[in-house]
Structures are given as structure tokens and as C-alpha cells.
Subunit: 638 residues, 2 copies
Amino acid sequence: MTPATVTFQSDARAVTLDAGQTLLDAAFAARVPLNSVCGGRGICQRCRVQVLAGPVHVEATGRLDGQVLACLTRPAGDVVVEVPEASRIEGEQILTGAERGLGPFLSIPEEAAAALPATAGLFVPSPLAFRLPLDLPPPTLHDNISDEQRLTRELRRRRNIRDVRIPIEVLRALPGVMRAGEWNVTAALARANGGYEVIDLAAGVTAPPACGVAIDVGTTTIVVHLLNLDAGTTLGAAAALNRQITFGEDVISRIIHAGEPEGLERLRAAVLDTVNLLIGGLAKDHGVARDQILGAVCAGNTTMLHLLLGFSPAEIRREPYIPVATTPLSYRAADVGLRIHPRALAAMMPGVSSYVGGDITADVLAAGMDGTEELSMLIDVGTNGETVVGNRDFLVCCACSAGPAFEGGGITWGMRAAKGAIQRVEIRPDGTPAWTVIGGGRPRGICGSGLVDLLAELLRAGVIDRAGRLAADGPGVRVGADGPEFVVVPAAKSAAGRDITLTAADIENLLRAKAAVYAGAALLARRLGLSIHEIRRIYVAGGFGTYLDIGKAIRIGLLPDVPPERVTFIGNGSVTGAKMALLSYEVWRRAAEVAQKMTYRELSTDTAFMEEYVSAMFLPHTDCARFPRVCAELGMQS
Amino acid sequence: MTPATVTFQSDARAVTLDAGQTLLDAAFAARVPLNSVCGGRGICQRCRVQVLAGPVHVEATGRLDGQVLACLTRPAGDVVVEVPEASRIEGEQILTGAERGLGPFLSIPEEAAAALPATAGLFVPSPLAFRLPLDLPPPTLHDNISDEQRLTRELRRRRNIRDVRIPIEVLRALPGVMRAGEWNVTAALARANGGYEVIDLAAGVTAPPACGVAIDVGTTTIVVHLLNLDAGTTLGAAAALNRQITFGEDVISRIIHAGEPEGLERLRAAVLDTVNLLIGGLAKDHGVARDQILGAVCAGNTTMLHLLLGFSPAEIRREPYIPVATTPLSYRAADVGLRIHPRALAAMMPGVSSYVGGDITADVLAAGMDGTEELSMLIDVGTNGETVVGNRDFLVCCACSAGPAFEGGGITWGMRAAKGAIQRVEIRPDGTPAWTVIGGGRPRGICGSGLVDLLAELLRAGVIDRAGRLAADGPGVRVGADGPEFVVVPAAKSAAGRDITLTAADIENLLRAKAAVYAGAALLARRLGLSIHEIRRIYVAGGFGTYLDIGKAIRIGLLPDVPPERVTFIGNGSVTGAKMALLSYEVWRRAAEVAQKMTYRELSTDTAFMEEYVSAMFLPHTDCARFPRVCAELGMQS
């Protein structure tokens, strides 16, 4: 079989495939945002495409309504393909946090800003990697120190930069560069391991700005922000499915796969592919050369960072749950495999334990909860649900497996917060739902915030009861192939031309997820001897996109029943925290302090956890005393 | 031309050559110690071999008395070669400093030992690289820190080791190694850049000792000592001609060659070849695996260290004489190209300037002159003659080109201090010379100390006059092909079966060399306003081997006329200093202090230099007031 070229018509992109590769592989390589959540196993049926020309082999279950599933279709020659609107992720519009108006050094939540020293203004710009133009005095017989000392002396004089390491490759180029630039040079520096490293040296004053990338390595979604480190601005953001999803949807299945022969290398290659394609795309779109990208800060859960670095995650799931490393590691990009400047800084956000990773440290930084006296709680609603309680004096965290329901996983019409997703739902007095779609147009599915709204509204309208059971005679309720379901969007109004529904199984999955998150938070507070009233502020992080109706999240019992004004939604805290650290050495140092200060409370071995979890499987909860406002509003009693 | 195999009969070694390579290349590759001092250009005629079988191409001037010059002979098929005794370097017996009885931590000159803190005993064993067996507590649910923290915590607890960097490759292996060893591991560590780096980690307690190499990268000769870093003992030493000699005999011609296309890379490859072959040979001979060698300290002049590191030396010879770097650089062995453990420490002895390199810093450390109040002077008699004056408060140095005469270069029968070299000479009352040969047997040539003796004895016996002219009627004097010459050893008693002579041209070369060395030392003292009587001790370093008759070195005016008991011969101070630094972090730190403290005095621009030099072209000197004892002894007057 000779290599085949796949052309994506509307996207005007073409790639050549190796034998055995699918149209889904082609879309990924061509950076065409074709949807897929099952990892190319023909299950999710979201990667439907139209083959306009050329021969293809399609597996038995790969043909649907005149379209084919890209993951089950292999070209048998050159083909031309069209990706319909309904099958597009619209990757550039995945909610990446960039929408939060991240201006120059003003990009952080107010709370985080407040945690910075007052004397420092809103944000101290001290990026982990930067360029410094230097006007060196030319050598004379009376000032004939070495080229290397001339450079380090100037760094000391100009910026009091000491403890500078210069890689051998840079020293080899030093004499040529200094003389080519007639003693005007631009040094690219990174802060690493307590000192500075000279990443590169260029002749003259180089005009293009120093850039960096903040990377949220999620189990499901990877988000990359490209930053101008000089200006402190976000140039762009992009997100894509973590290609590792082919090897399993959750952390545990990835760990199992890593134990197979070559498994770890395959997983590492998959995440690096995803990250590097996102970086490459952003760099291209914003006219940034890869060598201009001088630093990367990566945040993610402990397993994700292990797989990125090629560390075995095997012991993470074996008692006593030992990670290889969670400290703030700083390597060169080439050592890690990031395709930016080979000597660029590749820094890993420090984590706490096997189940509380650098993403949570980043959340804490983004919320600024380590900087205030006020007692606060952070709840990260992700595949793994994490809760942190504390203030500037202490931080305690726990983790519990919540599943991917609020990221759209395991929900029939679930999807990530991207264009076409229903993000808000109301049940009108006549019992019919009204919805808001991200980016407008016909809905393609429902994202996390839409699911929260939907559940809350169905409860309020009495379409579901406290146990989440659909009322057989409720408006919009019918019995589908898999039992009772609620029709959210009729076929005529949906992008796919099919009914968008919420099934009884979907509701069950959502209840499990919200119960796990709440149980973790509640038990942690209980074990710390705190009542919810003593917690002055609750931060919510997660892949909900820009929007989360706090009141509705409380109504379904995902969040504790506190006055909604005490709850702040911080979005993707992982990428925000990574970005803050990349832009400020002070924040990076705080990251290490936060991770070190934070203590991990193992709740999986706490016998009370299952009790909390089971009690939370109701809406909002079995115990109305815990949710007095919600129960009063809905006229419920324990 | 197909590859040919060259077999060295007595050595029982064989190598396969590429087209165009010579028998000298073959000897080098096979580690057969075939002599050669001209770099394979058919000039020195020391690489004579016997072709026992097989076809060869010999260049026109390559045939001599039934033998061929290996450097001018290329095999035209498989050949068998015999290297006669007279053509052997006896590399393992080159005087490498190992003979100075370097016992466990007792290997340093008394003066250097005296410079160490009294509380530290004679020598504090704190090698730059070492192994540490660790008995880690196995993780439990109550002690579930990461593998990396378990390692760093134990290093901190056991040895107060902080600021530890762990390369990504070591972290990748960490979980497997710790568990394979059932929490008994052996860490290999190096001290670099103000902290520690974990070079490697092995399961269990590994028995073989940590080893290291001290390397003197000389312009002419490279000396390597292999050390057991645990015991502080020298396992062995080896020396070889620096293969760069093919590209020129002195530093200046090497710098010129480095400016040609690929020149720098060729020179770097040549020195690395030499060093790696020496290391490989030593490792093999002493049953040490390359991966067991965890550290290297390299000393050499600034140009030599530049070429080793791949730094352009171009600016070293251009006003204002700027080196790329002279600070104490620490890299990984693989970055430098040393074939030891790839992550082993490769540390460069710091230097002062373009013309005062790390070899002089090493000399100062070996002499211990930076640690005492006593004012002393160090004279390094090498191709470049360097002088240092100072004590614990100040150090001033100068350099002047002396040529390779005292290393045997440019002298008809000159050779390095190796087996077969005449190292002592006396002229008996009957006018015939008596000599001592290193290793016994028939002499093959004369080494530096023999040349000093010879000159001093010829002067005393009146065979040469104060200008170095041979008395036409002196005993043993005859007129040879190139003018007057003195027969040191008649053909019947020499290894080569030919007369060993000292020609008028040889004497001229020796006078130039000794005049340059003395002029530098004298002018430096003069510029510092010091008389020679104020200098309490003179240290002499250089490739003289184990022996130098101080009285005779004074008699010819190589050294100032001080009481001989004030002069200490320290041998190859470069390799001794490198070894001391490798064995002791305190010494390594002192190296940086010495290099920083030492100021360089440029004498080449001092108009008085030529005057000093010309005055010193006599024996002992034009000015008898400078050499009162010698002149009195010899009945001379100014």
C-alpha cells in the first residue's frame, strides 16, 4: 500500500498518511478539528466525515447515513474529505481560559492579585525566561577578561544576575556571536534550579519578543497558551484531545497501559505529539518561530506529568501510592521532548502526591488562596475531583475519582465546552427547555455547565425527583432504546438532525460525579473540624468553560449550600496558574511553597467516605440540614 | 583499496586500517607505544619499524637501514610488523607523576599538605565524585513521599547533602532501581555548580569503587592518572603524544590550524582520541569499567582546554588576547566527549588568561603556595614557560614562550622522560660522560633533566664556554654533518646503535629555552620590586620526570642562584593539582580562588623583556652579580 494523500476540502489542508492510518489520524496531523472522544474506537460516532472522492476501506460499523466514521476509515488511495460542521471540535474555540481577558499582567483573578505583595503593584513581571539586550564594552589590553566573564559581568552589573550557567554549546558560539554583533548581543536567559541559565546568545538586538507556553496537560484535554513574555500578553490559545485517550479514558487505564511493553513510550509519544502539534499550530498562526519560545510551564495531574516526562506511573495506583517525583522539576525542552528552543526551560508545576498534582497547585495559585488570611476552599471539578482547604498558614487537600461526566465523558450527548455546546439550560414554565449554545447556531451536544443547569432545572421543574429518577409522565420524558430519557433538543433543531437527549444512565453518571466531588469536599471539611460557614470563600475550577451557574451547581448539591456570592468560578485554574508562574518568578517560587505546604489527606481509606458519598447521591443531598436554602426553595424536607 | 589488517607481532595486537592510514596510525589505534615526536611527518625518524610480512607502500624518504618509518608507510594488504625496542615509547613508563609514591591521601607535596587546614589532617577526602550506599526506609501509607524525595531526604539526613539535581534519565530509572534493590541503592554523585548532581543510581550496594581520571592536557604530551576515588589511590598512569601534534608542534600553530575549515573539529577530535585511548587503556589494564569512572578533572594551558571543549582559540593570539572562558567549568562527560560515564563530571581547572591556564593553577595547588604566608615563586618549565610569584595574599604570574627543548623537542636526541632516556649525566675527570638511564639498559635519547645535567657538566668541564660554544679541541667534540657536536654515548653503547650526540644547534635551542624561562622569572620579580633573596622558596614544575638536579639547573642559569635547599621540584604539577582537586572539593574550591586571585602580568609588551632575555643567553648569565655562587664555583667574572 503506497502512501495516500488526504485532502480536507473546506480546510484546504492535505497530509500524506502511512499505511494503516485512518482519516482520524489524517485530521489530527492536518490540525483539522475533527471531533472524537472515544479515542478512535468507533464508539462515540462523533468523527463522521463525507468522502468526496477517492477509494477508502471502511470497517463494518463505520458507515452511517451516507457518512463514514473517520476512525474506522482508511484511504486506499488519494482521497478528498469534507468535515461537516457537526463533527468539528472547533479546537481554537475550546474554552482555554484565554477568553478571560488576559491582558498585560492583568490576567489573573483578583484574589490571586490580592495575594501578591502590595508594593509590587498588580503583578510583578519577572518571567521565567526572558531576553536581555546587552551593550558590552569591547575588550582592551587593560580589560582583557574572557568572553564568558564579559557576559557574566554585564549580567551582574545590569540586573544583578548571579549564579549563571552557560551550556557548552552556547560557550562554543560565544566568541563568534559577540564579534558578529560588535559587542551588542541579546542573551536569552531562563531561571532554573535556583540560578540562571543562558539559553542562547544572538548578535545584535533581536527584535522578535521572547515567547513562552503555558500547558495544561489534562487527562482528556490539553490546553496550550502562547504568551509574549516581554509584554505579558496571551497571543493565543489552543486545545485538543489528549491523544493518549486511545489508550484509555481515565488515569487508571493509562497507568495500566504504561505497564505494557513499550506502553510508557507510546503514552509519552502521544502526549508529546498533542502538545507539540498545539504549540506548532499556535506558533504558525501567530508568526512565532519555535526557537523564539524560551520557556514552558506544564501543569497537570501527577500521572499526566509522569507520562510527559517518561516516568513510570506504576506505583501511583499501588499502595502506598508513590509517585516518582512531584517537586518543581526544571529541565531543558529537548530533554523533555517539547519542540520549542531546545535549551528552553521546561518547568513542571510541583504537586503534592500521587493524586494531587501540579494542576491543583496551579489552581491554588490562580485563586490566590495561599496568600490570604481568609479561610477558603477550592474545588476542582475534573475527571479527578480535588478539594483544597486552607489559607496562608495551612493547606490541606484530598482527591476522589469523579469520572469525566462534567467534561462530557460518559454522557450520551456530552461534549467539552466548545462551539456548538449547550452551556445554559432553562426549563420554561410550559415545561420545554430553552438553551444557549456556545458560538451560536444549532447545538451539537451539552457541555458541563449545560449539564449542571439541566439537572438543576429538571429537579426544580419536578421532571426528576431527589433520587434523579425521571417522572414517567413528565414533559419531554419518553422511553428510548435504553430506558427513560428527556428530550433536550428535538432533531429538527439539532446540528446532527437527531434528538439531543439526557438518559437515565446519563443522570446516574452525573449523580455519581457530583456526589464524589461533594463527598470529598464535605469530608475534608469535617475531618478538619470546620463547618461550611467558617469557609469564607469557595473557588471552583474545571473545564466548564467561561460559564457556570453557581446557584444551579449548589442546587444539585455539587457545591455546598453557601450564599452564591461567596463562590468564585476561576475556570481552567491549571493553565492560569501555569501562565502566572511562567510570567513571574515570584509565583513560581510560591508554587514550590504551596506544594510543600499542602498536606494530602487520603480519604479513600476513610470509612466515612462511602457514607458521605451515598448520602450525596441525592439531589441536593439526603440531609436537608446540609442544604437549607436549596431545600427551602424547592420545598423539600429530609 | 580494501581495509588492511596490521598485526604487531610482539605486542600480539591487531587493528584494521582505513585506506590511506599509516602504520603509525595503526600503532596508535592498537595502543602499541611506538615513538614519534614530529607528528608523523617523517622528520624525527623515531617510528622505525620492521615489516615482517605483507605488502606496503613506503614514501621515498621512509626507508632506513632495512627498516621503514611507520608514519610514511601504508599497508597495501594485511601486514605483520615488529616494533623494535629502540622505537618504543614505553608509554606506561613515561614519567607521569604516578611514581611519586601517591599513596592514599598522602599523594601531595608536603608544601601543599601544609597549606591545608591543620584540623583537616593531612588531606581531607572529599572527592568531586563519589558513591554513597543508601539504606532507604521503604514507603508506607504514612511515609508516602515520592521516590525522588525519599532519595534526597536520605542524602540530606546521611550527609547533609542539599541542592541536589537529578537528571531526567536518572529519574526515569529511579522507581525500578529502588524496588529492584529493595530500597538498598547506591547513588553516584558529583559536586558541580555549587551543588550536587546524581550521576547514576544502582540497585543494592555496588562493590566496584568509584573511579576518576586526572588529565594533564599538554601541548606535546597528555598524561592521564586513573584514581580509586574511594581509597584516594592512584591505580595507574599513562601518557601519550597529543595527537594534535600532527597539526603543529606549538600552541600558535594549533591556533592557526583551528582557524581553517573543520580545523577546530579536527583538533578537538585529535585530543579526545588521545585522551580516550589513554583512559580506555588504563581502564582495561586495571579492570575498571568506563561507567565506573565518575569524574574527570582536566588541566592544561588555555588553548589546550579550548580545543578540548571545542571553543575557538582564535582570539587568544590576537590582541587583546581574549580567551572564551577560563572559569572553573563543569560539564557532563558526554557533553565534552570524554568516554567515561556519560553523566560523569568533567571539570576544567580554571585559568587566569589566554597565556596562563589551568595547568598553572594546578601547579600552584600542587605547590601549596596559595596557603602560606611565605613568599614563593613557581617556575613551570614547559613549551610555554610560566612564573608565579606570591603567597596567600597575592599571586602574580607571567608567561613566555620557551619552546619544547626541555621536553626533548627540537633536540637531535631529545626525548621525554621515559624508559631509555638519559636522565643524569656527569663528565668524569677523564672528560668522558657517565649517565643514568631511566629503567636501565642502553640509552635511547636524553630527556630534559639529562639535558640540564649535560649542559651544566659541559660548562663545568670547560667543553662549552659561557656562550655555549663547543671547544673545538674539547674531549668528545667533533665536527658532524651539521657542525660541531659532542658525543654523549658512542654507537656501541646506544640502543639504536648510533652515536647519541648534542649538537651546537641543540645547545642553541637549550640556551634559548632556559633564557626565556629565567628572563620571565627575573623580570616578574623585578617588576614586583622583589629581590631574589626575598623569595623564600622556589618550586619547579615541568615534564622532567622524577628527577631534576637543582644545583645544575642553577648552574646553567635556568633557575635563579639561590641555595639549592630553597628549591623544590614538584614534577608534573598540572596532573598533581588536577588529582588533588578531583580528590578534594576543598582543593577544587581553592582552584577557583587561586585563578581569580592571580593577576597576569603581560611581559611580551615590556621593553625590558628582550634585554633580560639576551642577558640570559649566556651560561649562567652575562651578569655574574646575579649568579654569585655559580660564578665563584666556576671561577667566572662578569
